[in-house]
C-alpha cells in the first residue's frame, strides 16, 4: 500500500507542475486547472489509506464542512470580489499548515531536531499568512476601511515578531514543548500577521496577497518535510518560488520595491506633493457629444480601471464596443499591469463579459498606439493614466510606467465624481486641453452611450 501511496503522490506532484505550466498560456489555461485538480483528488483519496490513521468520521466531517463552505462561497461570489476570495482561501491554507505544526508539536515525537526546527518555521510562516490574509480579505471586502498607522509601529511589530521568534526557539529546543509556550508562540505569530498587514493600504493588497500566497506555499513545504510527504514538499516549494516571482513582478509593475510596499504606509509621505498638485479646469462633456466623438472615430482605445469593476460596467462596455465595431471603428482595450485590485483583474472581468482576449493589450503592446487613437476612453481608471508619473519627481507614483492615454487626440474620462483616486493623488490627465470629463457611474454612462449611438 505504501508504494501505491507514494506513487500517487508522485503522480499528483507531476500533475500540479504540468497544470501550472498549462495555466501559463491563455490557450491551455483552462485545461491546466483540471489537471491540477485531478492531482489533488488522487492525492486526497490515497491519503485515506495512510497506515495507522484514526478519526476518519471527524475527518470526513471536517472536509465536508470546509470544502462545502468554500464550494458555496466560491461559486456564489461576484467576479469583482475574486481578489479577496483568493486571500481568504490562501489564509485557510496557511492556517492548515500551522495546525499541522501545532498537532506535531503537541505530540512532540520528532524524528530529528531538523524536523522540529522546520515544523516551527512552517508554523510561524503559516500563522502569519493566515492572520495576514484575513486582514487583507477584510480590507478588500471593505470591513476594515482605514489603514492604521501610529508612531513606532515598526518597532512594536518588530518586538512582537521577536517575541514569536523567542518562543519559536524554545519550541525548537524543547524535548516535549509545554502547551503554554505553544499557545503563546501561535498567539504572537498570529498577532504579527495582523499587525504587519493593518498599515498597508488597499491599493497594495494584491502584492501582499501574492506574498502571503508564496509564504503559505513555503509553510506547506516545511510541514511536508516534517511529515515526510513528497507531494507537499514539491507542490509547496513550487508555489513558494512561483509566488515569490509573481510578487516581484507585481511590485515591479507598480514601480515599488517589496520593502517599500510592506514597510511604508502608502500616501504618508505623499500628501505634500499631492496637495500642491495640479491646478486647472476640468472640462465636462455629455453622453451625446461623447458618443458622437467615438462614433466618427477611426480608432478608440478603452482603458478600464477599478471603477469599471465597482460599477459592474464590463457587460455594458462590451455592448458599447460591439456597437462601435459595427460602425467600423477599431476598438482596443488597454490594460495596465496593476489596473484594478490585482494584476489581470481587468482581463478576468472583460473575459467574463465576453471580450475576446486578443482584443486586450498590455501596456508595452499598446502604448505607442495612443498617438494614433482618436479617442482614449478611460473608465474608472485613475493612477494608471496619470501623466504626473512621468513628469513630477515629487509624486509618490513618479517612475511608475503608465498608459499614455494623454497622447491620444481626445481623452474621455468616465468618473463618478470629482474626487481623487484610490491613492489620493491629483491626476494631471483630467486638466489637459484634450481631456473631457463624463461624470457618472460606469454602467449608467455606458448604457447612455449605447442609447446615443443607436440614435445616430
Amino acid at each position: 500500500m505504501n508504494t501505491v501511496i507514494q506513487l500517487s503522490y508522485f503522480l499528483a506532484a507531476v500533475l500540479f507542475i504540468l497544470g501550472l505550466k498549462r495555466m501559463s498560456s491563455p490557450v491551455t489555461a483552462r485545461g491546466g486547472i483540471v489537471w491540477a485538480g485531478a492531482g489533488m483528488v488522487v492525492a486526497t483519496l490515497v491519503t485515506f489509506f495512510w497506515p495507522g490513521m484514526h478519526n476518519y468520521g471527524w475527518m470526513m466531517l471536517a472536509i465536508v464542512i470546509g470544502g462545502g463552505a468554500a464550494w458555496y462561497t466560491g461559486k456564489k461570489v461576484a467576479m469583482t470580489d475574486m481578489p479577496q476570495m483568493i486571500a481568504i482561501y490562501n489564509g485557510m491554507g496557511g492556517g492548515a499548515a500551522a495546525a499541522i505544526a501545532a498537532v506535531e508539536l503537541m505530540r512532540g515525537e520528532f524524528f530529528s531536531t531538523t524536523f522540529q526546527v522546520l515544523a516551527v518555521l512552517g508554523a510561524l510562516i503559516g500563522s502569519v499568512a493566515f492572520s495576514g490574509s484575513m486582514i487583507a480579505f477584510a480590507k478588500l471586502q471593505g470591513i476594515i476601511r482605514k489603514s492604521l498607522i501610529f508612531p513606532n509601529q515598526q518597532l512594536l511589530n518588530l518586538l512582537v515578531f521577536g517575541g514569536a521568534l523567542v518562543f519559536g526557539l524554545i519550541l525548537m529546543a524543547a524535548d516535549q514543548p509545554g502547551d503554554s509556550s505553544i499557545f503563546l508562540f501561535f498567539l504572537l505569530a498570529l498577532a504579527f500577521g495582523v499587525m504587519m498587514t493593518v498599515p498597508i493600504g488597499g491599493a497594495d493588497m494584491p502584492v501582499v496577497i501574492s506574498l502571503f500566497n508564496a509564504l503559505t506555499g513555503l509553510a506547506v513545504a516545511f510541514e511536508g518535510f516534517v511529515l515526510g510527504n513528497a507531494a507537499m514538499i514539491i507542490a509547496g516549494t513550487v508555489v513558494g518560488s512561483a509566488g515569490t516571482l509573481l510578487t516581484q513582478l507585481m511590485a515591479k509593475a507598480m514601480n515599488r520595491s517589496l520593502g517599500n510596499v510592506l514597510f511604508s504606509g502608502f500616501g504618508a509621505g505623499a500628501t505634500a506633493a499631492a496637495e500642491q498638485g495640479e491646478e486647472g479646469i476640468m472640462k465636462e462633456v455629455d453622453a451625446t457629444d461623447a458618443a458622437v466623438m467615438m462614433a466618427y472615430a477611426d480608432k478608440v482605445i478603452i482603458v478600464p480601471g477599478y471603477g469599471m469593476a465597482v460599477a459592474q460596467a464590463q457587460h455594458k462596455v462590451w455592448e458599447f464596443t460591439k456597437a462601435l465595431q459595427e460602425r467600423g471603428v477599431t476598438v482596443k482595450f488597454a490594460i495596465h499591469p496593476v489596473a484594478g485590485r490585482m494584476p489581470g483583474h481587468m482581463n478576468v472581468l472583460l473575459a467574463e463579459a465576453g471580450v475576446p482576449y486578443d482584443m486586450i493589450y498590455d501596456l508595452e503592446e499598446i502604448n505607442n498606439e495612443f498617438p494614433q487613437a482618436d479617442v482614449a476612453l478611460v473608465i474608472g481608471a485613475n493612477d494608471v493614466v496619470n501623466p504626473v508619473a512621468r513628469s513630477n519627481p515629487e509624486s509618490p507614483i513618479y517612475g511608475m510606467p503608465i498608459l499614455d492615454a494623454d497622447k491620444a487626440k481626445n481623452v474621455i474620462v468616465v468618473k463618478r465624481g470629482r474626487g481623487k483616486g484610490f491613492s489620493g493623488i491629483e491626476n494631471g490627465l483630467f486638466f489637459l486641453d484634450n481631456t473631457r470629463m463624463l461624470y457618472g457611474d460606469g454602467q449608467e454612462v455606458a448604457g447612455k452611450l449605447i442609447a446615443e449611438l443607436k440614435q445616430l
Binding site: 491519503t47 484514526h54 475527518m59
Partner: protein, 97 residues
Amino acid sequence: MIEGFTALYIFMLAAFTGYEVIARVPVILHTPLMSGSNFVHGIVLVGAMVAMGHAVTDMEKIVGFIGVMLAAGNAVGGYVVTERMLEMFKSSKGADQ
C-alpha cells in the same frame, strides 16, 4: 522519511521548477495563476489529514479538525475560483479551447 541532502535537493529543484513555470507569463494570466498556485498549496489537506489521523489527545484532535477543515477550504475554494476565472478565456476566433 526524506532526509538531509536529499530533502535539500528536492527543495532546490522544485524551487527552480516554480520559477521556470512562471517566468514568461503574460500579465493577463497573473491573477488566474496566483489563484491556481493558491489551489496547488491546497495539497496541505493531505498533511492535515495525516496529522489528524494520528492525533490522540482531545486537543490534538480539535486542532487537527480545524486544520483539515481549513485545508479543505483552501483546496476546494481555490479550485472553484480558478476554474471560474479560466472558464472565461476565449479567443475571438470563436472555437472553445
